[in-house]
Amino acid sequence: MVLLKEFKKALLTSLWFVFLTFPIVVIKVDPIERTVFWRWQNAFYMAVGTFSIYLLVKFYQHRKENQPKSSDAGENKLPISSLIHRILLNPVQRNIFIGIVAAISIVFPHIFSTYQTNVMTTALMYVVLGLGLNIVVGLAGLLDLGFVAFYAVGAYTYSLLNLHFGLGFWTVLPIGGLLAATFGILLGFPVLRLRGDYLAIVTLGFGEIIRLILENWGKFSKGPSGISNIPRPGFFGMHFNLEQSVLYTYYLMIILVIVTIFIVNRLQDSRLGRAWIALREDEIACQAMGIDKRKTKLVAFSLGAFWAGIVGVMFAAKTTFINPASFTFLESAIILSIVVLGGMGSIVGVVFGALILILLPEYLRALSEYRMLAFGAILVCMMIFRPQGLISNIRRTYKFEKKSPPPVR
C-alpha cells in the first residue's frame, strides 16, 4: 500500500517537473529564422529521470530511517569514508597507503602522456587551492566566495613582476603568496566582523571588483587580452624543452601538495587549529573562553589567501598566459565545491574532492559539458544528504597516559 502511494507521488512529481521544465527544455526557438523546434523527447526523458530520482531519494531516506541507531552518534558512514578512516588510524596501514600514493605520484608522468601529466598538474593545483580554502571555510567556518581574487593576485604578481622587472619564478613565488596574504588581511580587517552570510557576499563582491579592475584597467593589467609569454618555472638557469618543463612543473606541484598537507595538518592539530574549529562552532562561547575572534579569523583568512597566491604564481607559470577570464566567480564556486564534496575540514577529503571534480570531467569527455551543472548539483546535494562530505574529518583523539597528577591551580 505504502509502495503504491509512493509510486503515485513519484508520478505526480515527475509530471510537475515535466510542466516546470517544459518551456526551457522542450521548446527551442530560433528568433532569426523564426522557427520553433518542439523537442518532445526531452519531456519524456525528464519524466523518466525525475521519476527514478524521486524513488531513489525516497529509498535512501527510507533506509536511513530504518537503520539501527547503534553506531556511534547515528553517523552513517560511506564505505569509502570508513575504509579511509580505518587505514589512516592504523599506523602500519597508513604508511603503506602513503607509500603507494607516493609511488603512483612519482611514476605517473612516466606512464602517462604529457597531456595527462598536464591535466594531473592542474588537478594538483586545485588540491592546494582546496586545502587553502579548507582552512578558511572548513576549519574556521568563514564562507569565502571571493577566494579566486587571491589566486588572481598571485598570478598577476608573477606575470607583472616578470614583465616589468624580469623577476623569476622562484623570487616571485613567496612574493605572490605574501602579497595575496596581505590582500587577505586588508580585506579581512574590515569584513571579518560581519555575520557569516554577509561575509560571503562581501567576499564575492571583492572578488568581482578585482576581476573587473583587471579587465578594465588596461594600462596596468593589459585588460581582457591578458598577458602572454610568461616564463615557465626554471631550475638554476637550466633550460627545459616543453616536455621536461611539464614534468618539472608536475613534480613541483607534488612537492607543493606535500608541503601544504604537512602544514595544514600541523595547523589543524595546534592551539590555533582548535581555536578555528571552536570559532566555527560558537563565536560567543569562543570569545568567552579568551579567544581573540578577529585575530584568529584574520590568520585563517590570510593563510588561505597565501596558498591561493602561491598557486596563482604556479598557474601563471604553468599556462604561460593569463587573463581575467580565468578568475571569475565560477572558479571560486568550483573550489568551494571541492571542499564541500570532499568534506569541510578534512584534508584527505579535499584531496579526493579535487581529484574527482577536476579529473572526472577531463576523462569522461561526455560529462565535461555537464561539469558546471554537476558542480551546482553537488553543492545542493551534499548540503542536503551529506553535509560532512565524502570523507568526513576525523577529529584527533588524545591519548593521555597518567603521570603524577599535576597541580591545576
Partner: protein, 263 residues
C-alpha cells in the same frame, strides 16, 4: 583575611529606552560563593553579559583586583576575550559548548588564553610548543577528572547528557584559570540527583579557593552554597546579605511573591 576580587559600582545598562540595569552594586571577595538571585527578567543575565564584555554597559564601573598587585583594573569597555584573559570566566544559561569537538578539546580551548603557540610554533612544532601542548593536555585532563568527565574525554560534547554538559561548561571555564568563576544558572534543567552532584562540585571547587558568583533559581541550592546573596528585581538591587538575612527580608519576599513562588 578576605580580599575583594570584584567590585561593581553603579552598573547601568540601557537598551534603547529601557533600563535593564539601574545602578547595581555588587562585590565578591576571594574564596567566597556569592549568589545573584531575582525573579525572571530581573536583569541577572544582563548583569553577567555586562561584566563579561558581551554588552557594553551604559554607566558604572567594573573593577577587578589582581592578585599580588595593589592596583585594580577596570573591565569596562574590554572585549569578552580580554575580560577572560584578565580573570573572569563564565558559563552560559543556555549551554554553549563546541558540539563537534571532543570533551577534552572543549576544555583545551579554555587553555587558549593562557598559552601562546602560534603559526610558527604550530608548523615547526618547536620544543616550546610541544611542551606547551603537553601541559595543556595535562591540565585539561586533570580538570576533567575533577568534574568527573575524564572517562568521556574523547566523546563529542553534544553526546553528553544534559547534566554532564553543564559540568563540562564549568570545566571549560575553570581551564582559563579564572580569579572569579561566573555560573549562569548551572542547575537549570537538572534533575534532583544532578543538582546534588552539582552542589558537591561547586563546594569542592570553592574549597580549593575559587571565588564564585552564580545566578540560580534553585533556592535550596543557593541557600546551601552561598556565603552572601544579592537580590535583583526590575534591574535594581533590592537586597543583599547572608542567606538567613535574605530569607527574612520583606522586600525579597514581596518581589518573589508578587511574581511567583520560586523556591
Amino acid at each position: 583575611m578576605k580580599q575583594p576580587i570584584l567590585n561593581v559600582t553603579n552598573l547601568t545598562m540601557d537598551f534603547g529606552g529601557i533600563r535593564a540595569l539601574d545602578s547595581v552594586d555588587l562585590d565578591v571577595n576571594s574564596g567566597e560563593i556569592v549568589a545573584l538571585i531575582g525573579p525572571n527578567g530581573a536583569g541577572k543575565t544582563t548583569f553577567f553579559n555586562c561584566i563579561t564584555g558581551i554588552y557594553q554597559p551604559t554607566g558604572g564601573d567594573i573593577l577587578l583586583s589582581l592578585p599580588n598587585k595593589s592596583k585594580k583594573v577596570s573591565l569596562k569597555g574590554l572585549k569578552p576575550n580580554k575580560v577572560t584573559e584578565r580573570g573572569l570566566a563564565r558559563t552560559f544559561q543556555n549551554i554553549r559548548l563546541f558540539p563537534k569537538m571532543t570533551v577534552l578539546e572543549n576544555v583545551m580551548i579554555g587553555r587558549h588564553c593562557r598559552t601562546k603557540a602560534f603559526i610558527f610554533g604550530a608548523i615547526f612544532r618547536t620544543a616550546a610548543t610541544r611542551r606547551e601542548e603537553e601541559s595543556i593536555l595535562e591540565t585539561s585532563y586533570a580538570i576533567l577528572e575533577k568534574v568527573g568527565l575524564a572517562e568521556h574525554a574523547n566523546e563529542f560534547a553534544d553526546n553528553l547528557s544534559y547534566g554532564a554538559q553543564r559540568r563540562l561548561e564549568i570545566a571549560r571555564a575553570l581551564a582559563t584559570e579564572p580569579l572569579l568563576l561566573l555560573l549562569d544558572e548551572p542547575a537549570a534543567g537538572m534533575n534532583p540527583q544532578e543538582t546534588l552532584d552539582l552542589d558537591h562540585l561547586i563546594k569542592q571547587i570553592s574549597q580549593e579557593g575559587q571565588a564564585i558568583l552564580l545566578i540560580e533559581h534553585d533556592m535550596q541550592l543557593v541557600m546551601s552554597l552561598s556565603d552572601r546573596i544579592f537580590v535583583m528585581d526590575y534591574g535594581k538591587k533590592i537586597a543583599q546579605g547572608t542567606p538567613a538575612e535574605i530569607r527574612a527580608n520583606p522586600a525579597v519576599i514581596k518581589a518573589y511573591l508578587g511574581e511567583e513562588v520560586d523556591a
